[in-house]
């Protein structure tokens, strides 16, 4: 091996950052946890300071700092550990049950939306005609307010005798599939022309080009869409629950507690917090799966600069 030294160099250079990266990753994890906790505490402090200053100066804009409009942070958290109604469950238990219910609707809607979005994306890359014919409708579907569609879906669902939670999932699907279509389309077209020529030189079938080149290239795009869709699916489920008759979901709780706002605003705030946590949980799971699936990627320059 005449060129042994020259050849080994870049590889050796790659190993050192790999070890450093592992250490950096552990440190990074702690930093991330601390930053989340820090920001949360910071926001609570800002909230309370505003109340303090606002009350002293008798502020009415932008928000009245009274205990109904802006309950104390500890009252919101405390509310979670009080019974929902006399003799009822603790609010946190009640909300957890509701969150699981809503999460199921969102999950089913998300899965259906992801599959539908991916399928449409593949169909559109296969056929320009299909794309030109149907993409405008896909875009148009997203400009119709979900609040107008939700009751229709619930009513139709009722006529077809499908369970109501499934009707809610369909509304969630409606919000979910769009980002997936757009990003799948973009991702499937991302391989450069040389890579396509390479596959052609192997006389690869369209199916092989799709699964061996286009889909793996599209994964980063698709995961970006899935993160957007994860939050959208929760919103779709929350909104879908409003016209539905059942009392079990988080959306219903939001509606009920907003009607009681003047009496116990902390209940609504607590429910909003739980709803946000559901969304965060969902996005975190998608991110976790993303890291499992895409493990080959090089550290970007942005990462390297951030580590330095």
């Amino acid at each position: 091996m005449r060129h042994a030294t020259e050849r080994d160099q870049p590889a050796a250079a790659a190993v050192v950052p790999a070890v450093a990266a592992a250490n950096a990753a552990a440190a990074d994890r702690w930093r991330r946890i601390l930053s989340v906790v820090g920001v949360t505490l910071g926001l609570a402090v800002v909230w309370e300071v505003y109340k303090l200053v606002g009350n002293a100066l008798d502020l009415t804009t932008p928000v009245r700092p009274d205990n109904v409009t802006m309950p104390h942070v500890w009252d919101v958290v405390g509310e979670l550990f009080r019974p929902v109604r006399r003799g009822g469950d603790l609010l946190i238990l009640d909300l957890t049950g509701r969150a699981l219910w809503t999460l199921r609707e969102a999950l089913v809607g998300f899965a259906a939306g992801a599959i539908l979005g991916f399928g449409l994306g593949v169909a559109f890359t296969r056929s320009r005609l299909a794309e030109q014919a149907f993409l405008p409708y896909v875009v148009a579907s997203q400009t119709v307010p979900i609040l107008a569609i939700a009751p229709m879906v619930v009513v139709w669902g009722g006529r077809l005798d499908i369970p109501q939670w499934l009707a809610v999932s369909i509304i969630s699907t409606y919000l979910t599939f769009f980002p997936v279509v757009i990003n799948t389309l973009r991702g499937l077209r991302s391989p450069d022309s040389t890579a396509m020529e390479l596959m052609r030189s192997y006389a690869a079938t369209p199916r092989e080009v799709l699964w061996k080149l286009q889909v793996p290239s599209a994964l980063p795009y698709i995961f970006t869409a899935l993160k957007v869709s994860a939050t959208a699916s929760v919103i779709g489920a929350l909104i879908g629950e409003l016209p539905a008759g059942f009392q079990t979901g988080l959306g219903r709780a939001l509606l009920t507690f907003s009607q009681q706002f003047a009496v116990r605003s902390a209940k609504l705030y607590a429910t909003v917090l739980v709803s946000a946590l559901v969304g965060i949980l969902f996005v975190s799971v998608v991110t976790l799966v993303e890291h499992r699936v895409i493990h080959h990627s090089r550290p970007t320059e942005v990462d390297a600069l951030a580590a330095a």
């Binding site: 870049p10 040389t194 020529e197 030189s201 061996k212 090089r298």
Partner: protein, 261 residues
């Protein structure tokens, strides 16, 4: 070599026009080129002379507008279906999500060829990258990536290797090492090579014949035989014969330049 059917590449009166209606560009006109088994042919010329287009016509990545191309006596389409040639581009075009080994296995998977692992190992051995088999492409230098691309192109044992400015993006030192590498592989496999380049010394060092092309429309303006002995080594680069042929190619390129102006 008596009949045309024994030729690896046989192009007759090939022309290629891009575009339709009023906006057309004539990329190639009247190309006649016969390449026998085991030859190493370089296509050289200024940009726009159609050398990459000619390579793509041979590989059935483009279809000629006029004339005919035969590969091993077959149409380029049939030759592509039969996996008669391997291709290497200027960009290594390795798939980021596959390890080096699995990149080399890619054509074998598509062609349903068995014993992929051992074939890939053999090929990585050929390009002397065995110890990098489980690395990802981004962990390799540009020259190493291009050697993986060569291993990938040879993995299914094609009879013809098409190379489109494969070292164009490499620095001069790496480039010379890669030329040695290609000559060694060429010597070991006896494969036929068509090599597109814009470097005169590179073309002369590697080839058995240098095909000089000129632009607007692209055509063959001269064919310079390179009768330097093989194996060619670093000493070849300093021999008088090498310089003489470089001069011949340079003059062939320059004489066409005068026409253009």
């Amino acid at each position: 070599m008596s009949e045309g059917s024994e030729l690896v590449v046989d192009a007759k009166g090939v022309g290629k026009v891009f575009g339709v209606g009023d906006v057309t560009v004539e990329a190639l006109r009247g190309i006649d080129l016969a390449i026998g088994p085991g030859e190493f042919i370089s296509l050289i010329g200024p940009s726009g002379c159609g050398k990459s287009t000619l390579l793509r016509l041979v590989g059935d990545l483009l279809t000629p507008t006029s004339g005919s191309v035969r590969i091993n006596g077959k149409t380029p389409h049939q030759a592509r279906r039969d996996r008669d040639y391997g291709m290497v581009f200027q960009k290594a075009t390795l798939l980021d999500w596959r390890t080096v080994r699995r990149n080399v296995e890619l054509p074998l998977e598509i062609m349903h060829i068995d014993q992929r692992r051992s074939r890939a190992a053999e090929m990585l051995d050929l390009v002397q990258l065995s110890e990098f088999a489980e690395r990802y492409p981004w962990q390799l230098s540009g020259g190493m990536q291009q050697r993986v691309a060569i291993a990938r192109a040879l993995a299914f044992r094609p009879s013809l290797l098409l190379m489109d400015e494969p070292f164009g993006a490499l620095d001069e030192m790496t480039r010379e090492a890669m030329q040695q590498e290609v000559l060694r592989i060429y010597g070991e496999t006896g494969i036929t090579v068509v090599f597109v380049t814009h470097s005169i010394p590179e073309a002369v060092f590697l080839s058995s014949r240098v095909v000089v092309m000129s632009p607007r429309p692209g055509r063959i303006s001269a064919v310079v035989p390179v009768d330097l002995p093989r194996p060619r080594t670093e000493d070849t680069r300093e021999s008088q014969g090498y310089f003489d042929i470089i001069t011949q190619v340079r003059e062939a390129l320059r004489s066409q330049e005068r026409w253009v102006r």
